[in-house]
């Protein structure tokens, strides 16, 4: 086993036993990055020099017996997390040269637990997309098939795991942006409940939906990473003041008597046959383990994408107003007046998808249209939330596909934004309801592309979905399959 293939817990054990050093592990990953990046392009920035310094420091701590959960573990972060002194672009030209003066809370928490950051990962520009094709820094390829998208918006975070360029990564999920790429790249990805992880220092897209979460090689690593970043933060007033459970302790392997709901609206006609087959096999495995199944209904599922594209774009149009060319970010050289500076800087700095969403959101919030679009969407959001509350009265978790198809081809959906938006149909409702969901590797398509399984939990029910995901992993070997690069 190469050092770059190891999970967090495997590497942690080797570091603890002094079989390897963090410097060795970090060097192995940096060499791997150099070898596969020409094919994958998962990174926007590689921080080799700083990573080696941090790895040396980690080794000193390990030698001194001062070892935390992530000490010496090489991780990489979506380029949406502010990192002090290290360029943070959000994959946009408008932030091409932006150097943050502070760390996001998630970054500070990873550092406090000894993690070594090897770089910043590619994504859709401002996290707006499902394919990582809208990045100003070029597309990322799916390591399982370089002609396919890795999913998005955290496409770099998922591809880096699949291509073995980082031991674990962080992404963000506004409408599926962790779970969908995790599914397409064959890794584990968790979107925690809204408020579980601080959003401080995470570049905002849609503030009522955005949430930070891990992408990892297995469920144990996912629990370790969540435990590291979760918890109340005074700097994010929407983070929730609840104690952080020891998530790794929830992984008992036991699902006997667990009530799993199958929402009938998610098992629709026209679901990709490979995805359907994967779900059927997963259900059979859970039944064998003693879980109980019940059909449930989430009747407003069909309205989720429309609701999302009004709520998310409205919030985006407001959040992205800060990129005005005045205080940071790109400023147009051509501007003569102040209005000119705003309009030209934003025109030059933003890509097409970002402009389209700002336009939609501004329209939905504009005078005369607010009630018809934004307010209407917020009311339908209430109905969607109630669907979940009602379903969770009778079941513990929900089992669904993550995406209607395996990864599609690069370029296949770029000309039709609506088709791209519809690829998030099974992940978006979870964000609107503010609850948690995890994607776990559950199969391969006939053409050899990974297919994930989604488990949706009650608000702050991360332990139950992690436990169910871990039990599945114990009885399958999908998480051990590797992309050949």
């Amino acid at each position: 086993m190469e050092l770059f293939e190891l999970t967090i817990h495997e590497l942690h054990d080797k570091l603890k036993k002094k079989e390897v050093s963090s410097v060795e592990a970090t060097k192995a990953l940096l060499a791997r990055i150099e070898a596969v990046e020409p094919k994958v392009n998962a990174f926007i920035t590689v921080t080799a020099e700083q990573a080696l310094k941090d790895a040396e420091e980690a080794d000193r701590r390990i030698a001194a017996g001062d070892m935390a959960t992530l000490t010496g573990i090489p991780v990489a972060l979506k380029d949406i997390f502010l990192t002090r002194g290290i360029r943070t672009t959000c994959a946009s030209r408008i932030l091409e040269n932006f150097i943050p003066p502070y760390d996001a809370t998630s970054v500070a928490r990873l550092k406090a637990r000894g993690a070594v950051m090897v770089g910043k990962l590619n994504q859709d520009e401002f996290a707006m997309g499902s394919s990582t094709e809208s990045s100003y820094f070029g597309k990322t390829s799916n390591p399982w098939n370089l002609d396919c998208i890795p999913g998005g918006s955290s496409g770099g975070s998922a591809a880096a795991i699949a291509a073995q360029e980082a031991t674990a990564t962080l992404g963000t999920d506004t409408g599926g942006s962790i779970r969908q790429p995790a599914s397409h790249c064959g890794c584990v990805g968790l979107k925690p409940t809204y408020g579980r992880v601080s959003r401080y220092g995470v570049i905002a897209y849609a503030s009522s939906l955005d949430q930070v979460g891990p992408l990892t090689r297995d469920v144990t690593d996912c629990a370790i990473m969540l435990e590291a970043v979760a918890g109340y933060d005074a700097k994010d007033s929407t983070s929730v003041e609840l104690p952080v459970p020891a998530y790794t302790k929830a992984l008992t392997g036991e699902v006997k008597g667990l009530k799993i709901g199958l929402p009938r609206e998610y098992f629709i006609q026209g679901l990709d046959p490979d995805v359907q087959k994967t779900m059927d096999e997963a259900i059979a495995i859970y039944k064998k383990m003693g879980a109980e199944f019940a059909e449930v209904s989430l009747p407003h599922t069909d309205y989720a994408v429309a609701t999302y594209y009004l709520v998310a774009t409205a919030e985006a149009s407001s959040n992205l107003a800060r990129y005005d060319g005045a205080r940071f970010g790109h400023r147009s050289e051509a501007a003569q007046s102040l209005l000119d500076m705003y309009r030209k800087s934003r025109a030059e700095g933003f890509g097409q998808e970002v402009k389209r969403r700002i336009m939609l959101g501004t329209y939905a919030l504009s005078s005369g249209y607010y009630d018809a679009y934004y307010l209407k969407a917020q009311k339908v959001r209430t109905l969607i939330m109630h669907d979940f509350i009602k379903a969770f009265e009778t079941v513990d978790v929900l089992l669904t596909p993550v995406a209607p198809t395996p990864a599609f081809k690069i370029g296949e959906k770029t000309s039709d934004p609506l088709q791209m938006y519809l690829s998030d149909i099974f992940t978006i409702p979870v964000n609107l309801a503010g609850t948690c969901g995890i994607s776990v590797p559950a199969g391969l398509s006939s053409s050899g592309l990974p297919i994930g399984l989604q488990l949706i939990g009650k608000p702050f029910g991360e332990e139950s979905i992690l436990r169910a995901a871990h039990a599945f992993e114990q009885n399958t070997d999908w998480h051990t399959r590797k992309a050949s690069l």
Binding site: I99, G329, R343, R346, K355
Partner: protein, 95 residues
């Protein structure tokens, strides 16, 4: 038509975006299709439904009014496209 090119150009001004003629044309067609799609929300009767702004119900979050360190002027200005002394420099605002 849900939206015209003329309306798209007005929204672009509100959004402080300068669009090329070709962009305005493309966005008109694409926004028209998306707005036609989101119209499906009108199939639902939402009379008396309370709108949801946040999934987690929340009151105002207050903190103690204490003096704390901030990042300082030089850090705050470090990313400024143009600065003059301790200020952000922008094009002339008042004629």
């Amino acid at each position: 038509m849900k939206i015209t090119k003329d309306q798209v150009e007005k929204v672009a001004l509100l959004a402080r975006l300068e669009l090329t003629d070709a962009e305005a044309e493309t966005f008109t067609g694409q926004m028209d299709a998306i707005l036609a799609y989101v119209d499906k929300l009108n199939e639902l009767n939402t009379d008396g439904i309370v709108p949801t702004a946040h999934a987690v119900p929340m009151e105002n979050a207050f903190r103690a009014d204490e003096v704390r360190d901030s990042i300082g002027i030089d850090n705050a200005l470090a990313n400024a496209p143009k600065r003059a002394e301790s200020f952000f420099r922008v094009p002339k605002v008042i004629e």
